[in-house]
Every structure is written in C-alpha cells, then in structure tokens.
Amino acid sequence: MEDIPLVEMRKISKSFGMVKALQAVDLKLYHNEVLGLVGDNAAGKSTLVKILSGVYAPDEGEIFIEGKKVNFTSPADSRKLGIEMIYQDLALVPNLSIAGNIFLGREPVKNLLGMRILDKKRMFEESREIITKLGIDVESTKIKSENLSGGQRQTVAVGRAVFFKPRVVIMDEPTAALSVKGIKRVLELIKELRERGISIIFISHRLPNIFAVADRIVILRAGRRVGDRITRDTAPEEIIELMVGISQDNES
C-alpha cells in the first residue's frame, strides 16, 4: 500500500518557445513526506510545481495521484484533488479582504430565493478561526490584504492552503523574503503539517532550511532531474555539487 506514491509525475517535459524548461523529469511524493526540491535559478523548479498545481499543462508526461492518472486543465482541478500551492509571491489579491482571499475560488454560497449568494458571515467567521489558529491576531477578516504586514500576508496565504484539508501542500520559496524568526515559523509549520498527515513539496535555495525539514531531496539542473537523495544519507556539499554540476571527474 505505502509503495504507491501520493503523487507521481512521469517524464514531464515543458517548453516555453525555444526554451526547454523541463526535460523528462520524474518526481515522486510519498504519503507523509516532506520533499525538498532544489536547483539553481532557472532549473525548472517553479515550472514543475506549477504543472502539478494545474497552472501549466505539460507538453509531455503524465501525472498520477495515488496511482490514478489525472489530467489538470486548471488549478481548480488540482485543488479539487487536495493539492494546494503557496506561491512565491503569495498570490494574494490586494483589494480583497482576508476572508475573500482565503476563500477565493471556493466561496461558500447560500440560497436566497433561488439565487446563490455569498455566505459572507461564514467566510468572515471561518477565516478568522483559521488565521487565529495560525497565530496572527487581526481586528477583523474584513481588512483588505494590501493593508497587512508581510508576515500577516504570508499567514493568509498559508491559511488559504491549509483551510480546505489538503493532501499535498506545495511551497515555492516560502522563506525567501522572511526574517530569521519568520523562517523558523515556516519550518515549524512544515513539521506541523506533516504531523497532520499532509505531504509537502518545499522549494528553497537555502540548503540549511531544506536539511532541517526535508525527508528526501530532489535536485534539478537545467530542466533535468540530476539527483534524488534521502536527506540523512547525503550532505549539503553533495547537493551543491549536483545543483551546479561539478562532478568529481570534471577538471580545469
């Protein structure tokens, strides 16, 4: 049973015009696993996870969720299957409220004389619950996200990802813009999510962060997968070598 990966991406290729962003990349994510995805700039990390989240369609390759082949035509499809992504820029809408952002794309509606209208009361209350649980205290979830601090914004983005009981959470460089304290909080959050049975794909260029939480590390270089290592069997030096492509027999 446990041998069937939660997510399996097979031979994924994607080009943007002449640029081959990904070439036959395989990726497996097991149940209850934190997978670190590393690589230099333009290695294809973001493209790969955006294919998994349904933003891009792959040119070639297949995606399986618990052994079943899936075909994502929109992020709505992958979200339905429990795959949530926290984007590098957080993907918040500045003019929407905290509640509006958390429920964006999945607003609860109630029936009023045959019309489906937004259940705003539920949106405000439930979003308040989730962000309080995540440890920020705001006056009201009616506040627009453009009026929040950086840390609060990130909490809203995290809240959105975890609210709908996901099976997979993808985090694209969640620590890039954070203080030391903020980074610690994100790493704790990752561990917490895993304890709740959620699998995580964690993209970061900060190797110490990857080594602190990841069970396994996949390394991409120039659109190809160049390594797949169990964290406890490897060392940062080896990962860096794989990332930049300096091998033992490479001289001068």
């Binding site: 989240s53 349904g54 933003v55 929109s74 992020p75 709505a76 499809d77 979200r79 992504m85 984007y87 820029d89 993907a91 918040l92 809408v93 500045p94 003019n95 929407l96 509006g100 964006l104 794309g105 999945r106 607003e107 509606v109 019309m115 489906r116 209208i117 937004l118 705003k120 453009e146 959105r160």
Partner: protein, 330 residues
C-alpha cells in the same frame, strides 16, 4: 477660554464631523462631496433647480448615462476598458427601430432582439480580449468603429422615426418619475447586487486586483471577463432602447460621445482604472454629477461648446483627487 470654546464647537458638531470623516474615507467620498456641493451651488444660483420638473428632468436625463456607466464600471473593475458603448447604443437603437417599423413582429420581440445584439457585441469584445488576446482598448475601439458603421448601413444614414404606442410607454411617467428613471434604478440595483453578493462579483473584483493570482486559484478569469464585457454590451443595448423611447426616433449617430460620459462617470465615481476598486453606486453618482453639471450650465445658459470644456476640467480634477489614494499606477 479660547480652547474651551473650540472644544465646545467640536463637541457640538462631533456627530456631523464623524459622518464627514467616514464619507471622506469611502472610495466614493470625493464624488459624494462634489455632488452635494454641486446641488448646493445649483440651488443657490437658480431658484428653478429644486423644482419638481427640473429634478424629474435630471433623473430622466441621467438614466441612460448611468446605465452605460454601470456597464463601463463592470469592465473597468476587471482591469479593462470599453470604448464601444456609444456605438452599440446607436446600433441597437436603429435595429430595434427598424424591426418595429419595417416588420410585423411585436414590440417585445424587437426589444429582445436589440438586447441580444447588444449583448453579442459585448461578448465579441470579450472574445477579442480573452481568446485573441487583443488589449481591450484596441478591441473595443474596433467595435466602436464597426458598430457605428453597421448602424449607419442599417439605417442608410437617416433617422427612423415614430414608433408604435406600445413602445412609447417607456417614455411615459409614473406619478412623479419617468419609466426611464425606474428602469435605471432597477438596472443599478441588480448591477450592484451582483457585484456585492455573488461569486461572479467577487471574481470581477479579484480579476481586476490580481489577475494572475485569481487564475492560479482556479478561477476561470476569461469567463469573468466575458461576463463583464457582455454585461456592458447589455447595458448599452438597454440604453439604446431607452434612447429610442425618449426621442421617438433612432439616429445612427446618437451614441457618439456617450463612451466618454460612461467612462467619465465611472472614473468620477471612484472606479479605479487599475481595476478591482469601485462600485455601481459610485458610477451612478458620477453620472449624476455630469448630468447635474450640464443642467446647471443650461440653467445658466452656457453654450454647449463650453460645457465640454467644463466637463473635461471636472474629470481631470476628479482623477487627480482620486489618484492620490492609489499606491501604484499600472
């Protein structure tokens, strides 16, 4: 002593000051103040301003502009612009007029046909923007030219006049207000309710605020834009039919310049050109400012030529005061 007097003053007017403050914080704050100021000035200058007939006239005159501004607000909220409402208004006007005059079809069929054609024009705008990826400014500029041309072709360049009595009900009055005003109120209420209380309304705001993020979260942004442009086309069609009723004629050139009033009303009313911010209520008040201003200038017997200049200045000042609150411009 002086200080005490001062606080006494503040206490006395604290309630009104707090209301003023709240209004000032609203996106629609500036337009509300301009409107109130305009009404006060108008009533001081002209004793006729507050007469029943004049108020009724203003509310009738504003109806078409307000409905066009409503459609414009929808499109601008998604981050686009629609230059075609004036031409679509003309086209729908001559089409419904032609069907009523030259065929035996009932009036309601002519109206439905007009509404369908207007909506289709809007949908075409939307398809050009979402599928062909033409910027909305250019796409709707093309529609502006094409729809005007079609109107001229269909009417052979001349007005179509005198409609059946059953159609002219639209130009009548119910008690103190006109049917045109009633249609406007209904359209505005529906438009604002959709924006404030439905998923579609939420997605219109979200698309204008951060289109990429909205797409990433699984919202079909193209569908949202198609809806907004189609709705704007529908509004222009309603305007065309109302114009026919008001004039008892359909002129193929009648809508020219109306796109400016529509855009002007929306912007005056606080609808942000960067998208995502604004309301139908604001656009309505913007339309009311433009109409009231025209009314005042008419009462003062200012030539129509100068009125354009005054409108332009007011719009520029409004845009200036509104843009102060914007953190970034696209």
């Amino acid at each position: 002593m002086k200080v005490k007097e001062h606080t006494g003053f503040i206490n006395k007017y604290r309630y009104s000051i707090s209301i003023l403050k709240k209004v000032g914080q609203l996106r629609e704050g500036p337009v509300i103040m301009v409107l109130v100021g305009l009404i006060v000035v108008s009533s001081l200058i002209s004793p006729h301003f507050f007469s029943k007939v004049n108020i009724r006239n203003i509310l009738t005159q504003v109806a078409i502009i307000a409905i066009l501004a409503e459609g414009e607000a929808y499109v601008i909220l998604t981050g686009g612009i629609d230059l075609s409402p004036g031409s679509v208004l003309s086209l729908v006007g001559v089409l419904t007029a032609g069907v009523m005059k030259w065929t035996n079809l009932p009036v309601c069929i002519a109206i439905l046909l007009g509404l369908a054609v207007g909506t289709l024009c809007g949908l075409t705008n939307g398809l050009m923007v979402t599928k062909v990826k033409i910027p909305s400014f250019i796409a709707t500029l093309a529609m502006m030219a094409a729809a005007h041309g079609l109107a001229l072709i269909f009417a052979k360049g001349v007005p179509i006049s005198t409609f059946p009595p059953s159609f002219r009900i639209i130009a009548r009055y119910v008690g103190p207000i006109s049917v045109l005003t009633i249609i406007m109120i209904a359209m505005l209420i529906i438009g604002q309710l959709i924006l404030s209380f439905t998923r579609t309304g939420q997605y219109i705001h979200a698309t204008g605020g951060n289109e990429e993020a909205t797409r990433y979260l699984g919202v079909n942004v193209d569908k949202v834009k198609l809806f907004a442009f189609s709705f704007a086309g529908f509004c222009a069609a309603v305007g065309g039919i109302m114009m026919n009723a008001r004039l008892d004629s359909a002129y193929p050139n009648v809508g020219q310049g109306y796109e400016l009033d529509a855009i002007g009303s929306a912007v005056l009313g606080g609808v942000s050109f960067t998208g995502g911010i604004g309301s139908v209520g604001g656009a309505f008040m913007g339309a009311l400012v433009i109409t009231t201003l025209g009314n005042l200038l008419n009462l003062l017997r200012v030539s129509a030529f100068y009125q354009y200049v005054v409108k332009g200045i007011i719009l520029a000042v409004a845009a200036l005061s509104l843009s102060r609150g914007v953190k970034y411009a696209k």
